[in-house]
Structures are given as structure tokens and as C-alpha cells.
Symmetry: C2
Amino acid sequence: MTAPTHAGPPISGTTRLYALLGDPIAQVRAPGLLNPVLARRGADAVLVPMRVAPGDVAPVVRALRQVANLHGILVTVPHKAAVLALADRVTARARLAGSVNALRREPDGAWSADTFDGDGFVRGLVEAGHDPKGLRVCVVGAGGAGSAIAVALLDAEVAELRLVDTDPGRRDELWRRLSEAYPGRVSAATGPRLADVDLAVNATPLGLRPDDPLPFPVSGLPAHAVVADIIMKPAETALLRAAGERGLAAHPGEPMLAHQIDSYLDFFDL
Amino acid sequence: MTAPTHAGPPISGTTRLYALLGDPIAQVRAPGLLNPVLARRGADAVLVPMRVAPGDVAPVVRALRQVANLHGILVTVPHKAAVLALADRVTARARLAGSVNALRREPDGAWSADTFDGDGFVRGLVEAGHDPKGLRVCVVGAGGAGSAIAVALLDAEVAELRLVDTDPGRRDELWRRLSEAYPGRVSAATGPRLADVDLAVNATPLGLRPDDPLPFPVSGLPAHAVVADIIMKPAETALLRAAGERGLAAHPGEPMLAHQIDSYLDFFDL
């Protein structure tokens, strides 16, 4: 059994549903974290994982919107950008990031979307003693989570943000949006320039699978640098292990999610 | 809180999903009965209710088939006939009934469907001491559950089966199929002829709402007759109360579902 030992909430015909869409899905942590909270609160609600391939996400979201007792959707890799287009309303920060990770049914029947990835990441970082204010930061991966983290780091007043992605199209599109909103603080590159950064963030999926290559080498980082990873499973990725072996501070993926659980509960009014 | 107090199974990224589709949905009992069994067995699986309007059931089922960790669908009022057409394979008894209440994903990716309503109903009836063999029976309601119950009662060797439905089209369509399979034992009428029946079954949704009229009058039934209802919520419908007040044996909806829980567990290999 790989399921957590915490009991889930009781489920009956009156239970409100929340779905978490991702692909792969086995690694997701939110159901294991959120459901015991719902059970303890006596909320008549449950979050269930749904593995949905990228080509199916639009029809699946459209269908889930027709499920009357389904009140919200969480979104993880690789759907965070695609789902933005399926919401009726999107917050400014999510539109800037080009990424959403939560949708809810509004009282008028419309679906609104927001992203809590960046906010959760920054709050986790600050709590761990790594306030990003004034730092030079390199974010590797301009996908859904990376984009949201980039926006939140700029809002948290990093001095300089370098965007790295192997896909120049999506990297430059994000760079254009962020440069307009935060002039003079954002640059973009195909490969990481790490020699003078204070914080390097892996926001790619590299590290989910045991045979993934490192998203960036830790050898070029200065001795005071912090290496952060958004991967939650395994808790210690090869990147964080390599950082630790070099004596660098390693910040895991877990706090980003832990700090989002309260945001989800607020957003869904649970 | 209307949710049951039994804890549900723990839910993580590896959990297999099962969905129960109906409209309305608040009254459904299967999640409250099945999930505690799954939790006790340590099965990494959960059944969640989904309220889906009739016009949306086809796209919703098609979308759920694309959810890779969703392995089965239960179907209740009013979708049991419509969902038959959405399965790749249908058992003979379900095709005869024109009604399915369970679909599962097969190893080859196809979806197969069966109905357990009739079997559960007859087993509950027999266990309560009302073996239908040799009886004259009137089934009121030729929808999904009524059709499946009619097939199971004929398989259980009732002497005569009268089908009643206010919709002559669907009643006669079922009558034609059943007459071919069980020649000389099936008749059809618009209103119930109850004066000489041994068992009268309500298989309509009448009784779900407090202000529903009775599906048929109990005044015309002989004193030895059994009145059965498939409505599960409320446990004592106005029909069963009226039958009891007349001194007739009243058989509630609960046993039909209770006897299906094991069938579902077998069908889904849980």
C-alpha cells in the first residue's frame, strides 16, 4: 500500500468534489495533505486525483464543469498553462504567469482561476530563512510552476531574475510579459548563468524520475547560494543531494505545497 | 452535517477512482456504504458521487473514460438507459433490460457494462422471505431500475409480469424485448391492474420528494400482497407507509443496494 494511513473524509451523496488534474498523477501530494484536513474539519468535501493526458485536458475540464457537485479543480504538471484558457476569469498574477493551478465554480456559474504556486514557494522560502528580497535569482523552467514562481519572486522584490528554458518560444513569451510588468529586472537565457546567483530554482519536472539528468549543474554556483527544487517526490532529488554534497543550502519542494494548502482551503471556502 | 460518520478511505495520487453518476445525487447511498468497506479492506480506491444532468451524461462519460486512474462508473437515475449506449460491451441481461448501472475499464482499454439492480432486488426480496417464484407481479416504472428488476424477476421464475409505465413508448419497447425472451409471461398496461397481484413494485422515482404522489394506490391490492419500493431515501416512503397502514407486507429499497455492494466489489475487482 502506497496510500497514506490518514483516513479520508466520509463521502456521501451530499459531498462536494474537488479534482486534481495531472499527468503523471501518482506523485501528487495535495490529496494526501488536504483530505485529512477536510476530515478533521468535518467538511463534507473530498479532493480526488485524476490522471489526464494533455490532449484530453480541455474536454475533461469542460465535462467536469458540468458535474454539479464538483466545485473546484486543482491543476498540476503539465496542464497549468492549458487550463488558463478554460477559465472564465483569471487573476492578474495568473495571467502574468500564464499559468493557473486552481479553478473554482463561482455563485454565478462562471469558473475563475488563480495560481498559488509562486506565493506558496516564496512563503516557504522565507520561512526557511531564505528571504529572496534583493537577491539575484535564476529560475530554470518557464512552465506553469516556473512562471508563477517568477512572478511571485519579482513581487517579493528580487533584484534580478534570470529565466532559463530549453524552449525559447515559451521562455521569451514569459520574458516579454514580465519585462513589461517589472522593467529592467528580468533577463532570459537558454542555459543557466549561475556563477553570480544567490538562489537557483529548479522549476522543471526533471527529478521526478530516478534517471532524469540534473536540471542544472551545481558545480558553477557560489558557495553561499541556495538551491531550491519544486519536485516533491522524491523529497530529496538528485539536484538537492548534489547541492548538499557541495555544502550549498538545499530547499525542497514540500514547503511550496504545504504553504498552498491554506490558500486552497481559503480559495475553495472550505 | 448529513455525511455519514464512517471515515472514507485514505486518498493519494495512487488512488483508483470510481464515479457514481446520477441526478439528483444527494440521496445516493452507495458511496456511504462502499467507501467504509474499501477503507476497512485497505483498498486504494474511492467512490465519489457526481451530479450530472441528462443532457451532459454522454460528454461526461466520454471524458471520464479519458481519466486514466478512473476504473469504473456506477450509474443511477436517470442515466441507466442512456449510459448503455456509451459502453463498448454490454451483458445480455443488461441489453435485455435496456439498462446498465455499472461500467468498468477492461485491461484492453474497452469499457464493459452490466446491471446489478435486478439481481440485488431479487436477492433482497428472497432474503426477506418473499421468494417471487410463481407469483403474479406488477412492476410500475419501466425505466432503468424497473427494466433490470423485470428481467431478474422473470429469471427468478415469476408466473406473470405486468409492466406499467406512463410512457407507452418505453414500456412497449421493453415489453417487446421481454416477450421475445420470456414468451407468454409478460403483459403491459398504462395503469396498474392490482386486484390479483401477489407483489407490486415501485420502480419509479416517485417517493424521492416529500410531495410526490403515490406511484400506485395500495387500496386495490389483495390482503396477502407484498409492496416493494426501490427508493432508498427516505427509508420509509409514503407508499410503504400506506401499505403498512393497510396491513400489507412492505419491502424497502435498502436491501436491493445492500445486496449489490458485493456485486460491485466483485465487478470492480476491489
